[in-house]
């Protein structure tokens, strides 16, 4: 009976953990209860993945992102609202504090509604820029859905994004087309390494405001690939914020809609893309976990690096300069509901720094072996010829992956007096060693002669005089 109970408990825990690596409490901020129906498939999908959804209106008295000073929810989806203000519970500062507590946020924008000032200043704080005027949207006269927007060209049909750079993994890839109706474009500041575009607009797209009377675009907010339809921020504490330019693209009606791109009939894959977006933002994908962090002296035979999966973390605290050292670290990646071995992108590498103030070694780690849910990365090197307090330091920061920052401190000591090579091993010393030998032999011979020499004839004659 008790076994059954604990089994049920574990099953429950498993169900809770299945959703996200960090938690399953999800807050959906939705002003108009009637709008809920429009997002029902998205919300059902999230519930099916294990999230416990709370839907609140920004006007609700009980709404608060925090409870007893800790975050009250793990994730927030902010859907666009008619009213310009979001109320005292959802200020830009509250969202930033929520990010500081490692909460994740999806902000969905819509060109139909004015973006609330709280959201505007939140995005400004994060160096994500959106057009300030209400109604500005992204159009593209080349990649539009001619079934629903044959005149206005404001429903963009775009393929899934490719990897941002060749050394980054792509968590948003797929086959097919995604519809972006009436999207609010964003641009990213160039300074921050924390922001990254998830989906860029095509090079022929531009942002304009249909309310402008001019029939020629003269001063657009941004054009081409500088314009993002979906952008992401991952803070230093790995909290994630995703800005979706078009809240409409998350609605039921675009999840599997028939659309026409340049005369060709296509089906929109928004449901799958929305899954990938929410999964990434809510830490179901792209989450790294460090397992064992092992380093040990290479003493020749007893421990080989490829058998170190069995070695517990008994790390020595002291090494000597010029020691041969092996290092190994286990890294897993969380993927939807389980940990998998982490494989970096082809031209990327996890790097180990052996550092005292600044790195003396920075070495690429190579995968040595895989277990069911982790990759063991390792490298061997020689400790530098400088004594001091060093760190084995892994600082792995990449867009779309949670940050790894792990260090272990060790002392690197000098040679002890009996660890230096002996003088006979140094050829330059042979002359001096020979000199000592000659002195010893000469001394012994001298003592013998002094003690036992018999006088020669002339000498004795001289002496007797």
């Amino acid at each position: 009976m008790r076994g059954l109970f604990s089994f049920l408990l574990f099953a429950l825990l498993g169900a809770v953990q299945a959703a996200s690596y960090t938690g399953s409490r999800l807050l959906v901020v939705l002003e108009d209860e009637s709008e809920r129906e429009k997002y029902s498939v998205l919300l059902e999908d999230l519930t099916a993945r294990g999230y416990h959804t709370t839907i609140e209106s920004p006007k609700s008295e009980s709404l608060s992102l925090f409870k007893h000073g800790e975050r009250g929810y793990d994730h927030v989806i902010l859907l666009p609202a008619k009213s310009k203000g979001l109320g005292p519970a959802l200020t830009a500062n509250n969202f930033l504090d929520f990010l500081k507590k490692e909460g994740n946020v999806i902000v969905a924008l819509s060109s139909e509604y004015a973006t609330p000032t709280a959201v505007q200043s939140l995005l400004l704080e994060l160096d994500i820029h959106i057009p300030s005027d209400k109604g500005a949207l992204v159009v593209d006269h080349f990649n539009y859905d001619s079934a629903s927007a044959s005149e206005k060209h404001d429903v963009l049909l775009l393929p899934y994004p490719a990897a941002l750079k060749p050394d980054l993994k792509n968590y948003f890839g797929g086959d097919g087309f995604i519809a972006f109706p009436r999207a609010v474009g964003q641009t990213l500041g160039n300074e921050s390494p924390l922001t990254a575009p998830i989906l860029r607009a095509p090079s022929t797209a531009y942002s304009y405001n249909p309310k402008d009377e001019a029939d020629v675009v003269e001063d657009p907010f941004a054009v081409g690939t500088q314009l993002n339809l979906v952008s992401a921020l991952q803070a230093r504490n790995s909290a994630r914020l995703t800005v979706v330019g078009s809240a409409e693209s998350l609605q039921n009606k675009w999840f599997a809609e028939k659309a026409t791109l340049a005369g060709k009939a296509v089906k929109t894959e928004n449901r799958d893309f929305a899954k990938k977006l929410t999964a990434w933002t809510f830490k179901e994908t792209g989450v790294l976990k460090v397992g064992k962090f092992v380093h040990y002296l290479d003493d020749g035979v007893s421990k080989r690096i490829n058998t170190s999966a069995a070695i517990p973390e008994h790390n020595p605290t002291i090494y000597r300069i010029k020691n041969d050292v092996h290092f190994a670290v286990e890294i897993s990646e969380y993927s939807y509901d389980h940990l998998t071995p982490f494989v970096p992108a082809p031209s990327d590498a996890v790097q180990l720094e052996f550092s005292m103030l600044s790195p003396f070694h920075r070495l690429n780690l190579t995968p040595i072996s895989h277990t069911a849910n982790a990759t063991l990365f390792g490298v061997s090197f020689k400790t530098p010829d400088q004594h001091g307090i060093f760190n084995f330091y892994i600082n792995y920061r990449r867009p779309f992956l949670t940050n790894i920052e792990e260090k272990r401190q060790v002392t690197v000591r000098h040679f002890a007096h009996d660890e230096w090579p002996r003088s006979w091993q140094i050829s330059a010393a042979w002359v001096w060693i020979a000199g000592i030998g000659v002195t010893v032999a000469g001394w012994l011979a001298f003592v013998a002669v002094w003690l036992y020499s018999a006088p020669t004839m002339e000498r004795s004659g001289k002496k007797t005089q």
């Binding site: 159009v139 006269h141 080349f142 005149e151 206005k152 060209h153 750079k165 050394d167 160039n190 300074e191 390494p193 090079s203 022929t204 531009y206 304009y208 029939d215 020629v216 675009v217 003269e218 001063d219 657009p220 054009v223 081409g224 690939t225 010029k322 031209s347 790097q351 790195p359 003396f360 070694h361 920075r362 070495l363 690429n364 020689k382 530098p384 010829d385 990449r398 140094i426 050829s427 330059a428 042979w430 002359v431 060693i433 020979a434 000199g435 030998g437 000659v438 010893v440 000469g442 012994l444 011979a445 003592v447 002669v449 003690l451 036992y452 020499s453 018999a454 006088p455 002496k463 007797t464």
Partner: protein
């Protein structure tokens, strides 16, 4: 028909909507590029909503669009100097591809085509303010510690020559002693006079050298000192007897 004019040496090029110029257009530091064209929808001149000159860096994929100033009549114009270009284009090693995008709402057919390559001839004497590259998270350059050079020994042959010279000094010394009449003829006499003392004394002198040798090769100070004390005491006690025997020989005129 689009027209292109390079005003410094006032050269004109005629662009074609279907094919790009085979020759690249050069833009020097003081030059300005003027692009004139008339937009049409079908046969009729018309004002489009979008008329961009899009420059693309072929290596990085960076894009920047310049907007044509379009009149009601469809006459469009854009001016371009090096000042308008972002620094990435100015430092690009390859020519920058320029395409024209003309599009509008409704059913009108959009136009996008590469029209020419822009070769930016920058004056190397003019300093260019290139902002520092912003931080991006990526794998960094590997660092391998450069070890200090170890101590070196001179060539072995030189060492061996000098070691041989040092070792050769011993026979020379012995030879000189022999010519001066050094010998050990009184060993028998000494051992006859004080056998135990002489054996112990000379033995302790050899043993002391042996202790020094062991200290050099394997012993530590705490093994060396007691042994040296024992051997030293033996040498002191036996030495006084042995040296009195030597004194007796000297007094007997045998030294």
């Amino acid at each position: 028909m689009p027209n292109i004019r390079d005003s410094s040496n006032v050269s004109f090029c005629r662009l074609s909507p279907s094919t790009a110029l085979s020759k690249s257009v050069s833009l020097g530091g003081t030059d300005s590029l003027k692009l004139l064209l008339t937009t049409t929808d079908g046969k009729k001149a018309k004002r489009p909503h979008q008329a961009f000159l899009t420059l693309t860096d072929p290596t990085t994929g960076l894009e920047e669009s310049f907007i044509f100033n379009v009149k009601e009549s469809g006459k469009a114009k854009v001016d371009l100097t090096q000042k308008d270009l972002p620094h990435q284009f100015l430092t690009s090693s390859k020519p920058i591809s320029a395409s024209i995008v003309i599009a509008s709402f409704g059913a009108s057919e959009p136009y996008k085509s590469k029209v020419f390559d822009l070769d930016i001839a920058r004056d190397p004497n003019v300093p260019l303010a290139v902002p520092e590259k912003p931080v991006r998270y990526a794998a960094e350059q590997e660092i391998h510690h450069v070890f200090r050079e170890g101590p070196r020994s001179p060539p072995k042959i030189i060492t061996l020559v000098f070691a041989a010279a040092v070792l050769g000094a011993l026979p020379v010394l012995f030879g000189v002693w022999l010519t001066l009449g050094a010998n050990a003829d009184h060993v028998g006499k000494a051992l006859g006079g004080a056998p135990i003392s002489h054996a112990l004394f000379y033995g302790s002198v050899i043993a002391m050298e042996g202790i020094f040798f062991l200290y050099y090769t394997s012993w530590n100070l705490f093994q060396t000192l007691p042994a040296a004390a024992v051997v030293g005491a033996v040498a002191f006690l036996s030495g006084s007897r042995a040296l009195s025997e030597v004194q007796e020989r000297r007094l007997a005129g045998l030294r």
